[in-house]
C-alpha cells in the first residue's frame, strides 16, 4: 500500500501525483539543498484511506444522492453553501484510521524534537496533484499534535468548500471525492516575506528577477490586500535595478495574545521602511536564480526572512512553482524593433 506520510527529504519533483504539487516541489527543493522549513507530506493515499476506511466517502455519496442543485444557477448557490457545511462536518468529525494518526503524531513529535520545542508551530497546506484545478485551504500556526491531526483533516475537508463543490459539479467531476496531499511544515517566524518571479513579469525579461515583500508572513503579499515593496534585481550580478518602497499599513502576523494569525496594523516606524536590506534582497534573488536553474523554467517562489537568524541562514523558501504570469514573450523581431527605436545614440 502507498505510504501515507513522507518526509520532504523522501520526495522528488516527479511525485506530484503521489503527494501533490506543493509537497513535490518542497521535496525537490529539499533534495537540491535549498533552505526549506522542515516538514512532511500526507499523501493522496492518506486522503483516500481516510475517506474510504472511515466510511466518510460513502456517507457523502449518500448525502449527495438526494442533493439537487444546478451549479450554473446563481439562485442555487446557497444550497452549495449548506451542502459544504454538512459535508465538511462529516470529514472533520470522523476519526482518522489509528495507524495514520499515530504516524502523523510521531512525525510532528520528531519536528518538535528537532526544533527543541514542546509544541512547535506548523502550517498545514493543501497540495493538489499535477492536473488539479482546485483552490483549497491552508491553516497556519497550528500547535500540538491534536491540532495538527485536526489541521490535516481540515485541509482535506476544504476539498468540499463551496467553491470546490461548484467547480467540480460544473466540470462533471466526482463531487464526493477529490484526493489531495497535505504539507505539514514548520512555521517560519518571518521578519518579512513575499514572492519572487525569476523572470520579470512586466516585460518578460529573463535577465531580471522581480520581488514583492511585506513585513510579517507572506500571506499579505499573496492575498494582494496590501501594496508591498517591490524590487527588480539583475540576475547576472545582483545589481538592484529598481526599488519601490511603499507605505505598508497592514501585515499578517500572529496576534501576540491569542496566537491567531491575521491582519494587524504595522507599527508606525516600520510603515515606510524598506522590508529588506540590500544584502537580503541579493541573497533571495541569488538563490531564486539557482532554483530557476534547477527546475529549468522561470519560477514563482514564496520566501521568508526568519527572525532571529543571520544571513544567509535567515532566508527560507516556502514554495516554488513554474511562473505563469509572464506576459507573452515578445518575438525577437519585436524586441529588435523596440531596441532600434529605443537607442538612437549611434
Amino acid at each position: 500500500m502507498d505510504r501515507v506520510v513522507l518526509g520532504f527529504d523522501e520526495i522528488r519533483e516527479g511525485d506530484a501525483d503521489k503527494v501533490g504539487k506543493k509537497c513535490a516541489n518542497l521535496g525537490e527543493l529539499t533534495y537540491a539543498g535549498f533552505r526549506v522549513p522542515p516538514g512532511f507530506a500526507v499523501s493522496l493515499a492518506g486522503y483516500s484511506r481516510f475517506m474510504n476506511e472511515t466510511g466518510v466517502r460513502a456517507r457523502i455519496e449518500d448525502y449527495l444522492a438526494s442533493f439537487h442543485a444546478d451549479p450554473n444557477k446563481t439562485a442555487d448557490m446557497p444550497l452549495y453553501e449548506e451542502a459544504s457545511a454538512v459535508i465538511r462536518g462529516m470529514v472533520e468529525e470522523a476519526a482518522m484510521p489509528a495507524d495514520m494518526e499515530t504516524e502523523i503524531r510521531e512525525r510532528y513529535q520528531a519536528l518538535c524534537e528537532e526544533a527543541c520545542l514542546a509544541d512547535l508551530s506548523v502550517a498545514t497546506r493543501s497540495a493538489g496533484p499535477a492536473s488539479h484545478p482546485g483552490q483549497y485551504e491552508s491553516y497556519l500556526h497550528i500547535k500540538g499534535a491534536d491540532a495538527v491531526v485536526a489541521g490535516v483533516r481540515r485541509v482535506w475537508s476544504s476539498t468540499f468548500n463551496q467553491r470546490s463543490l461548484i467547480a467540480r459539479a460544473r466540470q462533471g467531476l466526482d463531487v464526493a471525492y477529490d484526493p489531495i496531499g497535505v504539507a505539514v511544515l514548520r512555521m517560519v517566524e518571518a521578519k518579512a516575506a513575499g514572492v519572487m518571479f525569476t523572470t520579470n513579469p512586466g516585460d518578460g525579461d529573463a535577465g531580471k528577477i522581480y520581488l514583492e515583500a511585506n513585513w510579517g508572513l507572506g500571506e499579505s503579499v499573496v492575498s494582494g490586500e496590501v501594496t508591498p515593496d517591490s524590487f527588480l534585481v539583475a540576475k547576472a550580478d545582483g545589481e538592484i535595478i529598481e526599488r519601490h518602497v511603499s507605505r505598508k499599513a497592514m501585515w499578517f502576523v500572529p496576534d501576540p495574545e491569542t496566537g491567531r494569525v491575521g491582519f494587524c496594523e504595522v507599527p508606525d516606524d516600520m510603515k515606510n521602511a524598506s522590508t529588506l536590506t540590500d544584502d537580503e534582497l541579493r541573497e533571495i534573488a541569488r538563490v531564486g536564480a539557482l532554483i530557476e536553474k534547477h527546475f529549468g523554467v522561470p519560477q514563482d517562489i514564496e520566501w521568508a526572512v526568519a527572525l532571529g537568524a543571520e544571513l544567509p541562514e535567515s532566508v527560507m523558501f516556502l514554495q516554488t512553482r513554474p511562473q505563469k504570469n509572464i506576459i507573452e514573450k515578445k518575438g525577437a523581431t519585436d524586441r529588435l524593433l523596440d531596441f532600434i527605436i529605443r537607442d538612437f545614440e549611434f
Binding site: 525579461d205 529573463a206 535577465g207 547576472a236 525577437a332 523581431t333 524586441r335 529588435l336 524593433l337 523596440d338 531596441f339 532600434i340 527605436i341 538612437f344 549611434f346
Partner: protein, 559 residues
C-alpha cells in the same frame, strides 16, 4: 563654384558650406567622372533622389536622406540629419515600416527583382525588338516613345533599388555593424565579423561560374590556343568563327550573352558599350578562366566560407549577453541578407538598366550623327535630356555640336582632377557616419592608426594576409592586364570586375566600406582585401611589392 555641366540642380552655393554640413565624394561609383548624360540623368538625379525618398518613406529617425551636389565632375552627397524632435516623431513610424525587411526580406526582394526583369523584357517586346540590331528599324517617333518609357522604367528601377531596398537593407547592416561594435567591441574588419558575413551564393557568382564554364569548354575543345595566340579580343572572336569547334563554342557564348549580356563595360554608365553590343568585352574574363584551366575556386571557397560562417555565428552569439541574443541573431540575419543583396541586386538593377539605356541612347546617337545633329554617335553622351528632346523628332533640324564640344572639354578637364574626398566641415564625418547606418555600411573613412606605421589604412577589409606584386587598374577596360596572383589595386570594383577575383592574390581599393563589392566578393573568394584607403591608386604603382593585411585593414608598400 561653377555648376557641373551647367546643371543648377547639383550646384553648390554658399549656404552649403555651413559648419553643420559635410559633403563626401562618392568615388566608389563616380570615378572616373561620367559623361554628362549619365552623370545627370542616369545616376545623380534619379539615384540620389530615390535614396532621399527611401529615407522619407521609411521615416528613418536620424536622417532625412542625402542631398546631392557636384564638383569637378564628381557627385558629392551630404547627409541631412534630423532634429531631436523629428527623430522622436519618426521613430514609431519607422518601427513598423522597417519590419517587413526584418521578417520577409527574401520574398520581397525575389518578387521585386522578377518584376524588374519582366519589365525590361516587356519593354523590348512592346517595341517588337527581338534582336539587338532590330532597334535600328524603329521609326524616330517610336524610338522617342521607347526612350520615354525607358526613362520611366529606369526611374522605377531606382525606386526599387534605392527606396525599397538599398536604404532599409543597408540600414539594418549598418545597425548590425554599429551594434557589434557597441555590444562586442567588434569592428566590421574583424575576421570573426567577416566570417559571419560570408558564404552566400547570388547572381554575381553565377555570372562568374558561367564565364568559367565557357573557359573550361574552350580548354576542353582545344581552343585554348586561340585565346592565347592573339591579344586582340575582337580577333579572338574572328578566329573562333574559323573552326567547327570555335563555332560550337560561340553558340554557347551567344546563349550566355542572351542572359548575361545586358551589362555595360562600366557597371553604371550609358557611355560604355554593352556586352551585347561588343561581345569582345567578355573575352578578358574568359581569358582569366582559361588561365585557371576553367577551374573555378568559388565552390570550394564557398563551402569553406559556409562552414566558417556557421562557426563564426556561434562564436558571435556566445559573446552576446544571453538576454540580448535573440534580437542580435535576427539582426545578424538581416546583415547577412544585406551581403547577399549587395551582390545579387546589380544584375537586376544597374547592369540591366544601364545596358538598355546604352542600347537606346547609342541608337539615338547614331541617328543624330547621320542627321548632322552631332558629329559622332558617341557624342550623344555629352548631351543632356533637354538637348535630346529638342532634336529627336523630326531629326535633322538642330545642331548640337557646340554643346557637345563645350561639355566634352569640361569633362576632359575633370578626368585630370584628383577629387577632394570631403568638402565642408570634415570633423562632422564621424558623427554623420554614426547617425546614418546606411552611410556607414556603404562608405568608410580610412581607419588611420599611426602606431601600425602602415602606408595605407582601410575603412573596410576582408581577412587574411598576402604579399605580392601590385597591378594598378583604373577601369574595367584594362582588367585583362591582371595576372594570376597579382594584387589588384583599383579605385573600386563592381560586378564587371568579378572575374578578377578568381585570379587575384588580394585586393586594395580607394573607396568602399564594409558592404562594398570588393569586400563582399573578396570574402567569398577568401582573398585578403583592404578597401576605402582613399589613395591606393595614387600611392601604389604597378610592379610595387605590397603586403595586404586584411586582418588589420592595412597595406604596406614594400617596393
Amino acid at each position: 563654384m561653377t555648376a557641373v555641366y551647367g546643371v543648377s540642380l547639383f550646384e553648390f552655393d554658399e549656404s552649403d558650406f555651413t559648419e553643420d554640413q559635410v559633403w563626401f565624394c562618392d568615388v566608389t561609383h563616380g570615378s572616373p567622372p561620367w559623361k554628362p548624360l549619365y552623370f545627370c540623368h542616369g545616376w545623380c538625379w534619379p539615384g540620389y533622389q530615390t535614396i532621399q525618398t527611401g529615407y522619407e518613406s521609411l521615416q528613418v529617425p536620424t536622417s532625412r536622406g542625402w542631398q546631392i551636389r557636384a564638383k569637378d565632375g564628381y557627385p558629392y552627397p551630404s547627409v541631412m540629419l534630423t532634429t531631436e524632435e523629428e527623430t522622436k516623431q519618426r521613430a514609431p513610424i519607422f518601427r513598423e515600416r522597417i519590419r517587413p525587411y526584418i521578417e520577409n526580406f527574401n520574398a520581397l526582394w525575389d518578387e521585386a527583382k522578377m518584376d524588374l526583369k519582366k519589365n525590361y523584357e516587356d519593354l523590348r517586346k512592346k517595341y517588337g525588338l527581338e534582336t539587338y540590331e532590330s532597334i535600328k528599324d524603329l521609326p524616330d517617333y517610336r524610338l522617342y516613345d521607347m526612350l520615354e518609357e525607358y526613362l520611366i522604367l529606369h526611374r522605377k528601377q531606382w525606386v526599387v533599388h534605392m527606396e525599397y531596398f538599398f536604404v532599409p537593407v543597408y540600414y539594418l547592416f549598418g545597425l548590425f555593424q554599429n551594434m557589434s561594435k557597441k555590444v562586442l567591441g567588434l569592428d566590421s574588419g574583424d575576421p570573426l565579423f567577416s566570417k559571419a558575413m560570408a558564404g552566400f551564393d547570388s547572381s554575381a557568382f553565377r555570372f562568374n561560374e558561367r564565364i568559367w564554364d565557357l573557359g573550361k569548354q574552350a580548354v576542353e575543345s582545344g581552343l585554348e590556343g586561340v585565346f592565347t595566340a592573339d591579344e586582340d579580343d575582337d580577333a579572338v572572336l574572328r578566329h573562333l568563327e574559323g573552326s567547327d569547334a570555335g563555332r560550337a563554342w560561340l553558340e554557347g557564348f551567344r546563349q550566355f550573352l542572351d542572359e548575361y549580356g545586358w551589362r555595360c563595360e562600366r557597371m553604371s554608365d550609358w557611355a560604355t558599350p554593352s556586352w551585347l553590343e561588343k561581345p569582345a568585352l567578355a573575352i578578358p574574363g574568359i581569358r582569366m578562366a582559361i588561365a585557371t584551366k576553367g577551374v573555378s575556386s568559388i565552390k570550394e571557397n564557398r563551402e569553406l566560407a559556409e562552414r566558417e560562417r556557421g562557426e563564426a555565428e556561434k562564436e558571435l552569439l556566445e559573446k552576446v549577453p544571453a538576454d540580448q541574443r535573440d534580437w542580435y541573431e535576427v539582426l545578424m540575419k538581416c546583415a547577412q541578407n544585406a551581403c547577399y543583396f549587395s551582390e545579387d541586386h546589380t544584375y537586376y538593377t544597374e547592369l540591366y538598366t544601364s545596358a538598355m539605356g546604352r542600347w537606346i541612347f547609342k541608337e539615338i546617337g547614331r541617328r543624330f550623327a547621320e542627321a548632322g545633329t552631332i558629329d559622332d554617335s558617341e557624342d550623344v553622351f555629352f548631351l543632356l535630356m533637354n538637348d535630346i528632346y529638342k532634336a529627336i523628332i523630326p531629326m535633322g533640324r538642330v545642331k548640337l555640336q557646340g554643346k557637345v564640344a563645350a561639355r566634352k572639354k569640361e569633362w576632359e578637364g575633370y578626368l585630370t582632377v584628383q577629387p577632394e574626398m570631403l568638402l565642408g566641415n570634415p570633423e562632422l564625418m564621424g558623427l554623420v557616419v554614426q547617425k546614418d547606418p546606411v552611410l556607414s555600411a556603404a562608405f568608410a573613412l580610412p581607419n588611420v592608426r599611426p602606431e601600425l606605421a602602415a602606408d595605407l589604412y582601410g575603412g573596410g577589409s576582408a581577412p587574411g594576409v598576402v604579399e605580392g606584386v601590385a597591378r594598378v587598374i583604373m577601369t574595367e577596360k584594362d582588367l585583362g592586364e591582371l595576372r594570376k596572383g597579382e594584387i589588384l589595386v583599383a579605385p573600386g570594383t563592381s560586378a564587371q570586375w568579378m572575374p578578377a577575383f578568381e585570379i587575384a592574390g588580394g585586393i586594395i581599393t580607394d573607396g568602399g566600406g564594409a558592404l562594398s563589392h570588393a569586400v563582399i566578393v573578396a570574402r567569398e573568394y577568401r582573398l585578403p582585401a583592404v578597401t576605402g584607403t582613399h589613395e591606393a591608386t595614387s600611392k601604389i604603382k604597378t610592379g610595387d611589392r605590397v603586403k595586404v593585411d586584411g586582418d588589420l585593414g592595412i597595406v604596406f608598400i614594400l617596393k
